[in-house]
Amino acid sequence: MELTTVWFLLVAVLFTGYFILEGFDFGVGMLLPVLGRDDRQRRVLINTIGPVWDGNEVWLITAGGAMFAAFPEWYATLFSGFYLPLLLILLALIARGVAFEYRHKRPEAAWKRRWDQAIFWGSAIPAVLWGVAFANIFRGVPLDADHEYVGGLVDLLNPYALLGGLTTLGLFLTHGAVFLALKTTGDIRERAGALAVKLGVGTAVAAVAFLSWTLTIRSSAAAVVFAVGAALALLGGLAAAKVRREGWAFTGTAVAIALAVATLFAALFPNVMPSTLDAAGTLTATNAASTPYTLKIMTWVAVVFTPIVLAYQGWTYWVFRRRIGVQNIPQH
């Protein structure tokens, strides 16, 4: 396999990992005002992701870094072209990250309420905008022959991209609810499980519509298989949630997210960012790539360190595998 293909796959895997992991973080953040009826309950929700959210976010930093190292043209065009959406995502992630750490540092209700809002909006904004961004990457945007983005903000807010944003919003909400049902006890667990099913039905409609539209834009055999698999996994996850098989439900929504992302990447390949203007402006895994020498070095680094990272991150989830409930929340 060409190294450019390997790195296309790796970037896809990193973003997939990011959406699965931070996907439920975003879901938990958005469900904070819905499922957390008082401060103690809200603390339960936050603490289900407390030990892991930061490590989950590093998937994004690694995905960005990998894109920069392996496909500098892609990184440069994407990040400068999607300037304002990425700015909003950054501001959201800043407010949200600080909120987790600072929320419990003062006892005043007003203080906590403000950080709760930061967590909610800091989760909701990226949950929508990542869908908008990836739908646009896939659909294509106006790029000139120098690969410079020549569109404006309105070009990014097309109906297909907005449906993409709605889909990621729904997927992350459902995924978060399922995660909460898996990680909590008592009342929160019950309500999270019931909510997951309700949210999941709406999400399934949006996801099926989005993936069908996707396959009409461009398609491949693998993409069709992935899209069908994503829909089945989501439905399977919902069925499992309904009968309170929470582990299976979580597996279902995680696989659904993975296959939905895989659908986009599979149908996109070998392009990485098509141009809607000039065919010469289209970025591909070949013309956006670094030199074979850089890719070779990066491949070695990835081969050595990725398993190590997966091992200790997986172990962290094992350490904090226990469900928590209001009875586990200390006074301070």
């Binding site: 603390r43 936050i46 603490n47 407390g50 030990p51 930061d54 490590g55 976010e57 590093v58 994004l60 930093i61 690694t62 960005g64 870094g65 990998a66 920069f68 190292a69 392996a70 500098p72 043209e73 990184y75 440069a76 065009t77 990040f79 400068s80 072209g81 300037y83 304002l84 990425l86 700015l87 950054l90 501001l91 800043i94 990250g97 600080v98 987790f100 750490e101 600072y102 419990h104 540092k105 410079e148 006890t185 670094s290 030199t291 020498y293 850089t294 070095i297 990066m298 680094v301 360190f305 990272v309 200790y312 991150q313 962290t316 350490v319 226990r322 928590i324 009875q327 586990n328 200390p330």
Partner: protein
């Protein structure tokens, strides 16, 4: 004002701001790990209290470092996309490695450390803080290797077809001599900040709560912090001296700009301060130390230091017409402020140690005041150091290879970059106030009570409160 200017201001503001939190993260992670190791070895509760106390301050600061760091990685692509296209083949690799090798380690094990007090065996829990500290310090190496390429590009060639820089020798990039000396210089600077914070908080408690049962712990922290400051300031000077010599060799214009030296001199003197304009035309008053600049730059008191005018002429013939000198007052004063603020912190550390000699308790109001401003001094030194090294490289974004103005994103409008600059500045200003107040609040609160290990607790695991919760 155009998009380029605003993009530069944004990079400057967000980077200096990010680096207010980085030194504390780098230094305090190690100091907290050392304190916890001492507790582990001796079983003395005093060290456990200090671990938890400084650990809390560390975490308040850590969160800010993390979230402002994401901006840094995105900003290269968002605002400097033509730079990213030009150097991506080289510059992206250390960034990706930094994330994969260092950030995962840091963030995962910080989570384990914060929440793992009762979940992990003691020894593993101790290992977690060390892993996080190692991750933090490793990250500094990779990002400095990337920055050093901008100062002294090595291990690459320019592809004649695409006009882009391409990596030819990755080992050369990682062992860039600028990186090898900047790494210890930056770490030492970071420990200067961390040690200072330790002193400030400890000293305040020593002097304010004289009869507290924990005075012994605070005294210990004050002394440890002071020694860290003294040792790291010595290391800062030592590594800074080597840096000066390398800088004279690879970026002679930056060395000339540090002194505002217009004509080549041998020997060259170093001015402690200059009154008057720094454009080389007139100088009202200056305190000069003969031979010092020659010594700093070359190691030989009679060595030749090239002047700005000669270098300008040389670069103009080499790179074509243009102004190749940085803004001299900025480089001149940032260089001096860096040194002065760093030395001031060391001087206060010395005073603090002296005031506590043979078990004495300091009483001087002035010492307390000096102690309270202490952490600000090395923070300023760090900021001015970065301002010097980055502004001293101008007009280049990659020295000798690409001008800053050619690196900016062409597709980002003035309105867009003004929007982001305003948004970052506002949110950063608000968070700075919030963070500072929290640090003060928790620093005042003092060391926590620690409950001795209770293995006889037979409550059901599922019912027991978490040792720590957000």
């Amino acid at each position: 004002m155009d998009a380029l200017d605003v993009a530069r201001w944004q990079f400057g503001v967000t980077t200096v701001y990010h680096f207010l939190f980085v030194p504390l993260t780098i230094g305090l992670s190690v100091l907290v790990a050392i304190l916890q190791t001492m507790w582990h070895r001796t079983g003395n509760e005093r060290y456990l209290k200090l671990t938890k106390f400084y650990g809390k301050l560390f975490l308040i600061n850590f969160a800010m470092g993390v979230v402002t760091g994401i901006v840094q990685e995105f900003q290269f692509g968002m605002n400097w996309s033509d730079y990213s296209r030009f150097v991506g083949d080289i510059f992206g690799a250390p960034l990706a490695i930094e994330a994969l090798v260092a950030f995962f380690l840091e963030s995962t094990f910080i989570g384990l450390w914060i929440f793992g007090w009762d979940r992990l065996p003691k020894r593993l829990h101790l290992a977690a803080i060390w892993a996080a500290a190692i991750g933090t310090n490793l990250s500094a190496y990779f990002i400095l290797a990337a920055n050093s390429f901008m100062q002294n590009p090595v291990g690459f060639r320019i592809n004649p077809e695409s006009g882009r820089a391409e990596l030819t020798d990755f080992v050369a990039v990682l062992t860039n001599k600028v990186a090898l000396v900047t790494f210890p210089h930056t770490l030492a600077g970071a420990f200067l900040v961390a040690g200072s914070l330790m002193v400030t908080v400890g000293l305040w408690h020593v002097m304010r709560n004289r009869d507290s049962a924990d005075t012994g712990a605070y005294r210990f922290a004050t002394k440890l912090g002071s020694w860290v400051v003294l040792i790291s300031s010595a290391l800062v000077v030592l590594t800074g001296d080597i840096q000066g010599k390398i800088m004279t060799e690879v970026q002679p214009m930056k060395m000339a700009a540090a002194e505002g030296l217009y004509t080549t001199e041998s020997p060259a003197s170093f001015s402690v301060l200059t009154v008057g304009s720094l454009d080389g035309s007139r100088e009202l008053f200056a305190i000069k130390i003969p031979y010092l600049l020659s010594f700093l730059g070359t190691g030989d008191p009679n060595g030749t230091v090239q002047g700005i005018n000669d270098l300008q002429a040389q670069y103009a013939s080499q790179y074509g017409p243009g102004n190749y000198a940085p803004i001299i007052p900025v480089t001149y004063w940032s260089f001096r402020f860096m040194i002065a603020f760093g030395l001031a912190a060391a001087a206060i550390a010395l005073l603090v140690l002296w005031s506590q000699r043979k078990g004495r308790t300091p009483t001087s109001k002035w010492l307390l005041r000096a102690g309270l401003v202490m952490p600000v001094l090395p923070l300023l030194a760090n900021s001015f150091g970065w301002i010097f090294t980055e502004m001293g490289r101008q007009p280049w974004i990659v020295f000798g290879e690409m001008l800053t103005r050619d690196g900016v994103s062409r597709s980002v409008s003035l309105t867009e970059v003004l929007t982001s600059f305003t948004a970052f500045t506002l949110i950063y200003a608000v968070l700075a106030v919030v963070e500072f107040k929290l640090l003060v609040r928790y620093a005042r609160a003092g060391v926590p009570d620690v409950t001795p290990d209770d293995d006889t607790d037979d409550t059901d695991d599922a019912e027991r409160p978490l040792a720590f919760a957000y």
